[in-house]
Symmetry: C2
Subunit: 259 residues, 2 copies
């Protein structure tokens, strides 16, 4: 049998089942009334209440209440679970080092405990990520703009690797920053750093110490012409302002085609 289960066990029965489950490498689900204490990167305390404790064979521990996607407390994978009965009550402690963290769950009542041996099916096929967006642009560069020609992905720069580097119809270098969803001002800052780094690399001669007011127009200076293009489904108002300030363009594009 792949699943073991006990209903309203005594604290000692729960301990035995739990130790067996640890031994077998089971995925454990434990309903009960408990308090929770955490100490590590921060510290927290949670008073008595009914909760679901999930213990994984890889060391992860999750304490869930009836609300929220996030566990109210947890321990990351790589932790070590131990169970004991102290003063007649089940206690589960999960610890890890680097950083040193401890999660302690003290039960006053154990309502239900189940363990299942898990096999297979851990590979998730996910679509619609930033990588999909990059693929889409490389296959159809005209979606960025007519005449755009990608030259490289992850091209190195002084500010780190750019998402896509290419040239436009006039042969002007273009830095393309990809975001799979609506973006705020931070993405514009990221694009600006790439553009500035590329301008310096392509031979900045004067105008030192500024932060990417990217016009490169017709005045006396000979700043290398480098364009910045932000590809994202949409941008916030603040991000649009900053794009305009820098002289960058925005191309509205989804990571996957609309149906």
């Amino acid at each position: 049998m792949t699943v073991t289960s006990v209903h309203d066990p005594s604290h000692r029965e729960a301990l035995w089942e739990l130790e067996d489950a640890f031994e077998r490498g089971d995925l454990v689900s434990l309903f009960g009334r408990c308090t929770v204490a955490y100490e590590g990167r921060a510290a927290s305390d949670l008073g008595p209440g009914d909760r679901l404790l999930v213990l994984k064979p890889d060391g992860a521990a999750l304490v869930h209440t009836d609300e929220g996607r996030q566990p109210v407390n947890w321990q990351p994978p790589g932790s070590e679970h131990r169970a004991a009965v102290r003063e007649g009550r089940l206690r589960v402690v999960s610890t890890r080092t680097n950083p040193a963290e401890t999660l302690t769950v003290r039960f006053s009542d154990v309502h239900q405990l189940s363990g299942m041996a898990v096999t297979g099916g851990r590979d998730l096929a996910l679509h619609g990520s930033e990588e999909d967006l990059r693929t889409r642009i490389l296959e159809r560069p005209e979606l960025v703009e007519p005449g755009f020609e990608p030259k490289a992905t992850e091209r190195p720069s002084g500010a780190g690797p750019m998402d896509v580097f290419g040239v436009d119809a006039d042969g002007t270098p273009v830095v393309v920053e990809l975001k799979r969803r609506r973006v705020g001002p931070d993405a514009v800052g990221q694009l600006a750093r790439y553009v500035r780094a590329l301008r310096e690399e392509l031979g900045a001669t004067e105008s030192a110490g500024d932060d990417g007011d990217g016009v490169g127009g017709g005045d006396g200076e000979t700043e290398p012409a480098v364009r910045g293009v932000l590809v994202a489904p949409s941008v916030t108002d603040r991000a649009a302002e900053r794009l305009a300030d820098r002289g960058f363009d925005h191309v509205a594009l989804e990571p996957t085609p609309e149906e």
Copy 2:
């Protein structure tokens, strides 16, 4: 009884228990072999495998494997759960709108199903957050530097509210940016925006179009003197460079005192 539990139920029995649990507003734990499909902000498919499905009365749904802190698939709170038997197999669908998202879990085997009525204890007391760091500085300003005097928290600026605004021993305005943990260059950029906004507000007269090389020294220009201080446990090398570029200071401080 606060907990119901069935072991190796038929798909129809599982459906009945599940519908009862939804009705009661139970927190549900469901072990079984299943496939999972998600479509919404992205899209994903997960082949057959043994998993734990957690269904919360607030609409959250979590699909956990035996590894990782994160669910392999999920649905946020506010979704609606529905269960049915199709072709003799239990199927759980969780949907939400805005954005439109659907999670579908198709079971080939149901091993164990439990539901618990959850009461009380949802208030977590967390220590060591950024707010703790702010409190600590307001109570002991000399931790920033001798003579520092906080004037306001969340003081508005053209770049948004600053964490802490004050003056140093010389009466020079100081913008303090707080981070509860080690920070990278982005935090320096955030601080630079506040400093620049405050300089403009306090009467910038010349040197337009640059981005905060904050010296304000003794040369001819009369840029308003505004200092920037980053309070964080530590900074990355790159962040330290940028701090030096801008003429900002770093104060090493933890959100809670070391023991």
